[in-house]
Symmetry: C2
């Protein structure tokens, strides 16, 4: 089969053997936003046309390719959802006469107040990572621009919440008054930890953010350490908002950022377990097994 | 005397009679950032040279003119501080032979964790507004880009906290993914109130922010109402972070924004009392009375 992880900014294709092993992989900066005039079929053919010519099938795609801005909108499946429910929401696209592929739906849920949340792409990563999760119930965190906190029970995603932590960090660093006194560089673990702990103090995040400036103004925080402190502060506020009684969290994301989350969790007495971040391809393989037979 | 409220983006000058009444007022978009090469004396002369020629004195200035980027840095006075302590921190600038003026210092404090906070300009507004505050102890809120929550006891500012609410609102609206589904327009009070109440739900502000997007995606919030909801959400989070047991707050700021804060406070069961927003000139008059005699 052909598994495609097709996000906003990147395109990753995998040719899989019948037992799910990766035979070949390709990637290109050909994310959904880089494809002009809806020419998604052409983009796909340009990358894996030879696999398609060789009759490799089925083709499964997940990520923003299934959004309103993508190839075709695959409506969000609803929580609770596991492999079966997500597979049932896949939609088929056809092109070039006889070619066809399947796009995985995103996932939605509502909290007790009725406010909705959505994901698109992460559900496939989670399905792929679930085989590493031994507990029957677990929290999985996918850190990132919009980090996801996902509650899994018996192989199904029952609920999740998105936090704009990464995007807010980028905005504050690039566009806010805080960025004026902020140098680029490696994360300083001491400044990061100091930000994480500050998040537990009274005052709220809107106040704590101003502290990044005042600590700098009064020489309590150097320009080199300011971004690390801000990062710890925002990740700390993400953790402060978690339900109590969590004692372990699985982290599913880029290793560098996951390590920062693990440090922050440790400061709050929560154990972190790392999952394989390249799990989307495994999730697509699972979905292929559950495809409606035609 | 001449009172000058000289901020980052605006310059406001007042000619006062001996009993503090405003005889004449002038303003110009000649804020600290608009003055080139440190030519503050020239800028002042260009606006009120005739008053100076007529021998009006003393000249008192407050605001960002006393910052590192201003005419001369007036080091922050420390809390607790009233008229006397702030007047004692004023610094003198001289120019053009015999001309001279005084710049009010900003104010600083530290919270129990040792994190500092600062204000510059607001302290003068507060001094001017205090005569309207009948209670011996009070909370004063100055809403804005960086809103200030100020604890006043017996005529002195004993502590304060800055929240970046207004700046974060602007960043989210202009630069974040939320702004893509946000139309400009008047504040819708229903959407605003809905955001204010959302701030009390579990999940934290970083999660609640993403709700602005998902409510829009799923047609629960219109593009026209989205900015009002965001505004309510952020102001709500500012209020959620307040100490409990506040039952009344004085608001000192632009009428439109103060009315929004009053609405939000009401939703949380807190009474709001409006202070005259043009209080800086009164504060400068008070400081002039307390000037060290030469």
């Amino acid at each position: 089969m052909i598994a495609i992880d097709w996000g906003t900014s990147s395109f990753r294709a995998y040719l899989l053997t019948a037992d799910g092993a990766i035979a070949e992989r390709r990637s290109a900066p050909l994310g959904v936003l880089a494809v002009q005039d809806g020419k998604f079929a052409e983009a796909l053919e340009s990358q894996v046309g030879d696999w398609l010519d060789a009759g490799k099938a089925p083709v499964l795609m997940s990520g923003m390719i299934g959004s309103r801005q993508g190839w075709a909108e695959a409506p969000y499946a609803r929580c609770p959802a596991g492999v079966e429910e997500i597979a049932a929401g896949m939609i088929e696209v056809r092109w070039g006469g006889s070619r066809s592929g399947w796009i995985a739906p995103g996932l939605r849920c509502r909290d007790v107040q009725g406010v909705p949340d959505v994901m698109r792409g992460e559900e496939t990563q989670i399905l792929g990572a679930l085989e590493e999760v031994s507990a029957r119930t677990a929290w999985i965190c996918l850190p990132g621009t919009h980090s996801k906190w996902v509650r899994v029970e018996m192989g199904k995603i029952v609920h999740f919440a998105t936090h704009m932590t990464g995007e807010v960090f980028g905005l504050m660093k690039t566009h806010s008054i805080l960025g004026r006194m902020m140098a680029n560089g490696e994360t300083n673990p001491v400044a990061f930890a100091s930000g994480v702990l500050r998040a537990r103090a009274p005052g709220g995040v809107l106040h704590h953010l101003f502290g990044v400036r005042t600590l700098g103004l009064l020489q309590d925080l150097s320009e080199a350490d300011s971004a690390s402190y801000l990062s710890g502060l925002l990740i700390g506020h993400e953790l402060v908002a978690l339900p109590r009684l969590i004692d372990a969290v699985y982290l599913l994301g880029a290793p560098r950022l996951s390590r920062l989350y693990a440090e922050a969790l440790k400061a709050y007495g929560v154990d972190a377990l790392m999952l394989d971040p390249d799990s989307a391809v495994k999730g697509l393989f699972k979905l292929a097994q559950a495809l409606p037979r035609t």
